[in-house]
């Protein structure tokens, strides 16, 4: 099989480098990249850690779509030519490695961090059967891989749009009654470049490896904001 890999490093022009890698049964895109790095070009840079689909470090754009390399079988791509590019909308560091710092920066900018109440209960419990818990649960498994931000076309067009990951986190906090920051975030949520900027294309939902739907979180926040405006 042919691996077409995006190559770039500071001071050099970008290019696509081809690697011929023998495809084996059960081989993933990450396996192919490791093989290319070990046998053909040790300067090829990419990030991975757990190799088993837990950490999200190996998120990249494979054949035009955001996927994690460690869980993408070559066989599943149904082609002998596989194109691998770094995630979009993040600062490039080198080759397939991007700087994921904007994920945390955008979350901080919209206040997507827990705000404790002045006198918190000693141990605030939210029961497993509580409606609040059931609403939050599907949205809390984010592993910060950045694939949703890469897939979002609105992030590409509006730098002030915080992106799906930050807004999904914001939804979990805004639904949590133990959090005291709801009122402070209202102005941010209603600003022109936040909730209203999402065009419900659901690209983020389609690519999330944890099957979270940031689109659903954004729509829920939007309904809540509109209800707040109407009183």
């Amino acid at each position: 099989m042919v691996l077409k890999v995006f190559r770039w490093s500071p001071g050099f022009r970008e290019r696509i480098q081809r690697f011929w890698v023998p495809a084996k049964e059960g081989m993933t895109v990450l396996d192919a990249l490791v093989d290319a790095q070990r046998r053909l070009d040790s300067t090829l840079a990419f990030r991975y850690a757990c190799r088993v689909g837990m950490c999200g470090s190996c998120g990249m754009v494979i054949n035009g779509r955001e996927r994690w390399a460690c869980r993408t079988l070559l066989k599943s791509l149904k082609t002998r030519i596989v194109t691998v590019r770094p995630l979009y909308h993040f600062p490039l560091i080198r080759d397939l490695v991007v700087d994921l710092a904007p994920l945390a920066e955008q979350a901080a900018r919209v206040g997507a961090a827990f705000v404790p109440k002045e006198e918190p209960a000693a141990f605030a419990q939210v029961g497993a059967d509580a409606l609040e818990r059931q609403r939050i649960d599907p949205a809390i498994e984010c592993i910060g891989c950045g694939m949703c931000v890469s897939a979002c076309t609105m992030v590409a067009n509006d730098e002030r749009f915080p992106g799906p990951a930050a807004l999904n986190r914001l939804f979990t906090l805004d639904t949590d009654r133990r959090d005291a920051g709801h009122a402070d975030r209202a102005a941010v949520l209603l600003s022109e470049d936040t909730l209203m900027r999402c065009h419900t294309q659901a690209n983020c939902t389609d690519v999330c490896p944890m099957e979270i739907s940031p689109t659903a979180s954004i729509l829920a926040l939007r309904r809540r904001a509109v209800r707040g405006l109407l009183g």
Binding site: R65, T83, P86, P91, L92, A156, Q201, T215, A216
Partner: protein
């Protein structure tokens, strides 16, 4: 040491790679917007030539595409599970085809 400008990749829409992997929700959004722009031109044409069948058919097709994809977006806004968005697109397209065929049979065949 001077700080280098940040290099951020964006999809290049003028390339095939930029469109590769484009998903259903994106197509639904794009077609609805494109239909809105096309409607402006076709409505003007329709006012000038109200009995020209080709314009009537184009107008109906655009109205159906724009309206039904808009309805899809509205039901998602109102809380229908986002996981259904592809199914909703299929329903919108199928409904548009059925209505178009029904009007064709009634008025133009």
């Amino acid at each position: 040491m001077p700080k280098r400008p940040r290099r951020i990749l964006r999809r290049r829409w003028a390339t095939t790679e930029g469109w590769r992997g484009t998903r259903a929700g994106m197509w639904a959004w794009l077609v609805q917007r494109a239909a809105a722009i096309a409607l402006l031109a076709v409505i003007v044409l329709h006012v000038r030539t109200p009995y020209w069948r080709g314009v009537q058919m184009t107008l109906l097709a655009l109205v159906l595409a724009h309206g039904l994809l808009g309805a899809r977006a509205i039901v998602l806004d109102f809380g229908l599970p986002v996981r259904w968005h592809r199914l909703l697109l299929v329903i919108a397209v199928a409904l548009a085809a059925v209505i178009f065929a029904a009007v064709w049979g009634w008025r133009w065949s």
